[in-house]
């Protein structure tokens, strides 16, 4: 398959490397992704020795044509969304590299590793404190949310950007 646009070429390569040498507990359905390179489903397993051991999660990646200069849209989907202070019940993840701190040098693999490490470092399974309000009011696209990252303290505040104002 000839990947013409730069983003396709890059995605193709990332897919190949993810299939060939995935991080532990991560696997991707190559055939499904092969059909539509801009939307991936990555299967993830809770790391051993953590609160999420034995749990299965699904991560959805959506790539824009500006990828890798534009960060992908990453959300948890499916029946099992991890209960985590940085993960909202609608699957949105509060992780700085997914928006502000994104760098084109990062990749799907590094996002997966970041999320695994985020889950692994969790000490108490709970939803974010503002979960109910956020889930009710947020945009479908987590990238439209202006996050206020509070690092390790685990307190997340957010300001909603309402799309209509654009």
């Amino acid at each position: 398959m000839a990947a013409t646009s730069p983003s396709k070429r890059r995605l193709q390569k990332e897919l190949m490397s993810l299939i060939r040498e995935p991080p532990p507990g991560v696997h991707v359905d190559g055939e499904m992704v092969g059909q539509n390179l801009t939307q991936w489903i990555v299967y993830m397993e809770g790391a051993k020795g953590t609160l999420y051991e034995g749990e299965q999660f699904q991560l959805q990646f959506k790539f824009s044509s500006k990828y890798p200069f534009d960060s992908p849209e990453v959300t948890f989907i499916g029946g099992n969304i991890p209960v985590h202070p940085h993960v909202y019940s609608n699957g949105h993840i509060c992780l700085s590299i997914l928006t502000e701190d994104w760098s084109p040098a990062l990749s799907v693999q590094s996002i997966c590793l970041s999320i695994i490490s985020m889950l692994s470092s969790c000490t108490e399974k709970k939803r974010p404190s503002d979960n109910t309000l956020y889930v009710r009011t947020c945009n479908k696209n987590p990238k439209k949310t202006k996050w206020w990252y509070h690092g390790k303290k685990g307190i997340i505040l957010y300001i909603l950007y309402i799309l209509c104002s654009y």
Partner: protein
């Protein structure tokens, strides 16, 4: 559907027990070459030719064309085995001995009716006994032994092994083989009806192979972020090499977040000491690579650079060459030389300079005749020297049409010093087809009436300064009287002249 397992698309492997005549290698039998196989002239039968197929096959029939030119083999034996293991012995399937009237040989399992096989005329038909059917339906390696020849070297014009993938093979193998074959079909349908002639088929294959050779760009030449070939590689403080364009694009995205440019790999902001540097060595390697592959279409679409800001003069060179072209005008030469002859020069140099102080513009223009020389470089260099000898300085006095009143002495003095310069410069020049560039150095960019003036070139090739140009009201060159259009005036960039 029957497949020819000797077709190059189905990737057979072929080996021969002996050496071959040059150009008639055994691989000709499996690569659509029409030349065929010819053993080396001193080789006597038997000659074993082993064909290994990509999977086990069920043989339907085998067609053998025994002759190459006037060389013809007359006795063949057919062996087969069902593994690629070299310890497994071959089993004799059948043999055939041709009479001079036979054009070829056909082997077929005896359970297949020979009438159904589309064999060419005058082919000797030999069957393979049923009791070895387990081999013909699961053959992996086929050995054709040339065991007899007619006073000639062992030869084999062409061989076709028709059959299907063995029913004992997995479905995936069947699918793979059919995919390979259908590629073949697609190519065949592309080539026109002329395919029947062997030569065209060979050509089709060649073209296809050429089209297939995709350019392999070394990983180190690719930008790790965009995976495209880098045209301006830069080394980041983190040690990673990326393309300048990628960094710029990254910088624009960072600017959206209100952040200064940083290393995309570490996020550390650049400063005086930590900043990206041009990867010059890599750049030259990439340029060499581009140059070596410049005939490929993929390369043609890749943007090129003409060095970075500090040596952008490469681009300027083209313009430099343009200027003297005007000077190379033959008519101009004639006119100025004649003018010079007519002139009676009465004023001294000092007088002249004094006069020019008002609005005069003393821009020496070198007049060189352009002779097309296809002779060798030595002659060329001599000619160039001659040209510069014959070059004259013409002072374009634009104020009062006194351009002609210069002394012969002046001309002579300037000429000799100029010639000296030109000659010395010419000695250092390897390319004799660009003498213009040299003379340009000698064109003074200094305008006598004004400092740092902007110079313009009129369509008549005269160079004047901005002040003088603005003083002209009727769009007529003050030197030669030629009328010009305002749109034809070209600006000469000082940077070029001063170089």
């Amino acid at each position: 559907m029957l497949l020819n397992f000797c077709d190059p698309r189905l990737r057979p492997e072929i080996k021969c027990s002996t050496i071959s005549t040059e150009g008639y290698e055994v691989t000709n039998l499996i690569n659509d070459s029409c030349k065929g196989f010819l053993a080396y002239s001193c080789i006597k039968p038997p000659v074993h030719i082993d064909i290994t197929f990509l999977c086990n096959i069920r043989i339907n029939h085998i067609l053998i064309w025994p002759s190459v030119g006037s060389q013809k083999s007359s006795g063949f034996q057919l062996y087969c085995k069902n593994t690629n293991d070299c310890n497994t012995p071959y089993t004799l399937l059948s043999s055939g001995f041709l009479s001079p009237s036979d054009a070829g040989l056909l082997f077929y399992p005896s359970d297949i009716k020979p009438e159904k096989i589309p064999a060419p005329a005058n082919f000797l038909k030999r069957y393979i006994k049923v009791w070895i059917g387990h081999l013909t339906s699961y053959a992996h390696v086929l050995r054709i032994t040339i065991c007899k020849t007619e006073k000639s070297v062992p030869a084999l014009g062409k061989i076709e092994v028709w059959g299907t993938v063995s029913p004992r093979c997995g479905k995936d193998i069947v699918a793979n083989v059919y995919t390979l074959w259908s590629k073949h079909e697609a190519v065949l349908s592309l080539s026109t009806t002329e395919y029947k002639t062997e030569i065209t088929s060979a050509k089709t294959t060649d073209n296809r192979q050429e089209g297939k050779t995709k350019l392999e760009i070394p990983e180190s030449f690719k930008d790790p972020i965009t995976l495209e070939l880098m045209t301006q590689p830069i080394t980041l403080p983190s040690g990673n090499v990326i393309d300048q364009a990628t960094l710029e694009k990254y910088g624009r995205n960072e600017a959206i977040w209100g952040r200064p440019l940083s290393d995309p790999f570490t996020g550390i902001v650049f400063n005086e000491h930590r900043k990206p540097i041009m990867a010059t060595a890599l750049k030259s390697r990439i340029d060499k690579f581009l140059l070596d592959n410049s005939n490929l279409n993929e390369i043609k679409s890749i943007p090129r650079v003409l060095g970075h800001a500090s040596n952008s003069a490469i681009a300027g060179d083209r313009r430099i060459i343009e200027v003297p072209k005007c000077v190379l005008n033959k008519n101009l030469l004639k006119r100025t030389v004649e003018d010079a002859k007519l002139e009676a020069c009465k004023q001294t140099m000092d007088d002249y300079l004094q006069q020019t102080k008002r609005y005069c513009h003393k821009l020496p223009t070198i007049v060189v005749c352009s002779k097309q020389s296809t002779a060798n470089a030595r002659e060329r260099s001599e000619q160039v020297t001659k040209i510069s000898n014959s070059s004259k300085l013409v002072y374009n006095n634009t104020h009062n049409h006194i351009r002609d009143n210069k002394s012969e002495n002046l001309i002579a003095n300037v000429d000799s010093s100029l010639d000296g310069n030109v000659k010395s410069l010419l000695l250092n020049i390897k390319r004799f087809n660009a003498p213009e560039k040299v003379e340009l150095h000698n064109i003074s960019s200094e305008c006598k009436c004004c400092n740092n003036s902007i110079l313009y070139k009129l369509p008549c090739k005269h160079v004047i300064c901005r002040k003088v140009l603005l003083s002209i009201e009727n769009s007529q060159c003050k030197s030669c009287g030629l009328f010009y259009k305002l749109s034809d005036i070209e600006r000469i960039h000082n940077s070029i002249l001063n170089r």
